[in-house]
């Protein structure tokens, strides 16, 4: 793994005496490779490493007998700091119901996450309500409805030809009347470059007035993560994001990229297809995973 790779690289360099700044720069090149292979955006890697370099050329590395380990330790600490230090919870409204709006690209895991979130809060004694506001994908409402049935949660689905804005408005009104604690609005997958659909999510957001807007992102997302997150943040604002499918071997670099460019935290991590497969975000575990 990476600290061993670095230590052996430095062993060779140490042979010629004291370690210097040039040697450390070479060590950081290994870190750069690791982060790029982990799908962190190349511009984010560049900015992150220039910030890390200051510490890396200090005495804690140059005077250490295991400089490779020292560099990795510094990088790990800086990653944890950048990722937000600790887990960020869902912000509940002072006056129920809390409205959570989900958005993201096609297939990222929104519908599944909507159900997982509802199940989690039901377990805690809250009364969630699901909203099937995807009117395009074949059997989208059926999918959320079947999930709602599995977890024992109420759901609003659209009538023939009803707009997502109308479904959302009607659902929130009903949830308020039924004294629900949490309304989770599942929306259709959409491209950030699809003007019509981005206009639609803006209108859904205006109607829902969400307390939390979460971007649901596939954990395997590559460099495009920055484009997507920036666009959604500009159009509807983001309170955080969800990283899905992290039960695979994708390193999840999109998490660092999105955190860096939007300043918002990862609120949840999807770790499987089952309703229970939802975890809080742990920055230290993520940092280790990023370094491979």
């Amino acid at each position: 793994e990476i600290s061993r790779k670095l230590d052996s690289a430095f062993q060779k360099l140490r042979g010629k005496g004291k370690l210097n700044e040039k040697d450390v720069t070479a060590g950081l090149r290994e870190i750069r490779l690791a982060l790029l292979e982990a799908d962190v955006h190349y511009k984010v890697v560049k900015e992150f490493l220039s910030a890390v370099k200051e510490r890396a050329v200090g005495n804690e590395v140059l005077k250490s007998i295991t400089p490779g380990q020292q560099i990795v330790k510094i990088v790990h600490e800086e990653l944890v700091k950048l990722l937000g230090g600790q887990s960020a919870p869902l912000r509940l409204a002072s006056q129920p119901p809390t409205v959570v709006l989900l958005a993201g690209l096609q297939g990222s895991g929104k519908t599944t996450f909507a159900a997982k979130l509802a199940a989690r809060y039901k377990k805690r004694g809250k009364r969630p309500h699901l909203v099937a506001a995807d009117i395009y994908r074949p059997a989208a409402a059926d999918q959320l409805e079947q999930l709602a049935e599995t977890i024992g949660c109420t759901i609003t689905r659209g009538e023939e030809g009803e707009s997502p804005e109308s479904i959302t408005e009607r659902a929130i009104r009903k949830a308020r009347g039924d004294l629900k604690d949490l309304v989770i609005v599942d929306t259709a997958g959409r491209l950030h470059v699809d003007d019509d659909l981005m206009g639609e999510i803006e209108r859904i957001s205006a109607v829902a007035e969400p307390h939390e807007t979460l971007l649901v992102v596939d954990g395997m997302t590559g460099q495009d993560a920055v484009n997507v997150a920036t666009a959604f943040q500009e159009r509807i604002g983001l309170d955080g994001f969800v990283l899905t499918k992290m039960d695979g071997d994708a390193r999840g670099g999109a998490a660092l990229s999105i955190r860096h460019v939007t300043g918002t935290p990862v609120k949840f991590v999807g770790v499987g297809e089952g309703i229970e497969a939802l975890e809080e975000f742990h920055p230290d575990r993520m940092a280790t995973r990023l370094l491979g």
């Binding site: 750069r32 490779l33 790029l36 292979e37 982990a38 799908d39 190349y42 690209l105 096609q106 297939g107 990222s108 895991g109 395009y136 994908r137 074949p138 059997a139 989208a140 059926d142 999918q143 409805e145 079947q146 999930l147 599995t150 491209l191 950030h192 470059v193 596939d218 395997m220 997302t221 590559g222 460099q223 495009d224 484009n227 997507v228 499918k245 039960d247 695979g248 071997d249 994708a250 390193r251 670099g253 999109a254 297809e273």
Partner: protein
């Protein structure tokens, strides 16, 4: 010329930035840049030619298995969760139905909520029958029944949609092997085409997917979806180099006609612009 006046290090950074942004990956990007280092000429032009050379392989890009007349042409779609398999199955069904072929769809995702219903709607859209059982049924059994039906009914094409799965889940990969086995049991030409459906927005995980799915079910090629976004799908270069799998089709939208044959030239030009 403007190219020869640019600082070589600055040009290298520029080339690398474009390749990285396109998800080519740092190792493949550095290999590409190194491979054109000794040559004369415009760096961008050389890069394009080298990328084309990789994607076109040994010139066998044009060879496609024809629709066989001795039994249905079976296409098996596999891939990770949400990559676009079901939608692609619908698009392929529409494509072949539009060519006057008789087509059957197999709903072999017996696991996910409303997976069968989703494919059934695609069947209705393209005027194609869908073979299914109940949710929770054995996926291999659905695949087997579908091929029996396709053979009995003299269908030209059978498209088998499977459940999404992460390549690191060995029990799910075993299920996939079983699906392929039961198809082969009815004739060792089946399935004639097995495609890994790959989402263009993913990064370096594509390589792990290609390796492990290929190991499990012997892929014939890739279908790269969601290229209508801003992601370029550059990982397919490394996949070609390391697993030798070509891209056959690309998905450029959510409608039935949003499926195109892969054009290496258009792909590379879009990546480099």
């Amino acid at each position: 010329s403007a190219v020869t006046r640019q600082d070589p290090e600055e040009l290298r950074e520029e080339l690398e930035a474009v390749l990285l942004q396109g998800d080519v990956g740092i190792l493949a990007a550095d290999r590409l840049i190194k491979s054109i280092q000794g040559q004369d000429g415009d760096r961008w032009q050389l890069l394009e030619e080298e990328m084309l050379r990789i994607l076109e392989g040994e010139g066998e890009n044009g060879e496609r298995p024809p629709i066989t007349t001795g039994g249905p042409h079976v296409i098996l779609l596999v891939g990770t969760n949400g990559s676009g398999k079901t939608t692609t199955a619908g698009k392929l069904a529409s494509k072949y139905a539009g060519e006057g072929k008789s087509v059957l769809l197999a709903a072999a995702d017996t696991y996910r909520a409303a997976a069968i219903e989703q494919l059934q709607i695609w069947g209705e859209r393209s005027g194609v029958d869908v073979i299914s059982q109940e949710r929770g049924a054995d996926a291999a059994s659905v695949a087997y029944d579908s091929l029996s039906a396709a053979i009995a009914r003299n269908m030209d094409v059978l498209i088998v949609d499977t459940a999404g799965r992460l390549q690191t889940r060995s029990n799910l990969m075993d299920e996939l092997k079983k699906i392929r086995r039961v198809l082969q049991k009815q004739g060792d030409q089946y399935p004639q085409e097995t495609f890994l459906v790959l989402d263009a927005t993913i990064g370096q995980n594509a390589l792990s997917q290609a390796r492990l799915f290929h190991e499990a079910v012997e892929l014939d090629g890739l279908i790269l979806t969601k290229l209508d976004g801003t992601a370029k799908g550059g990982m397919v270069l490394a996949v070609r180099q390391e697993v030798d799998l070509p891209v056959r089709y690309i998905g450029v939208g959510e409608r039935a006609d949003d499926l195109m044959e892969f054009s290496p030239k258009e792909f590379v030009q879009a990546l480099l612009e």
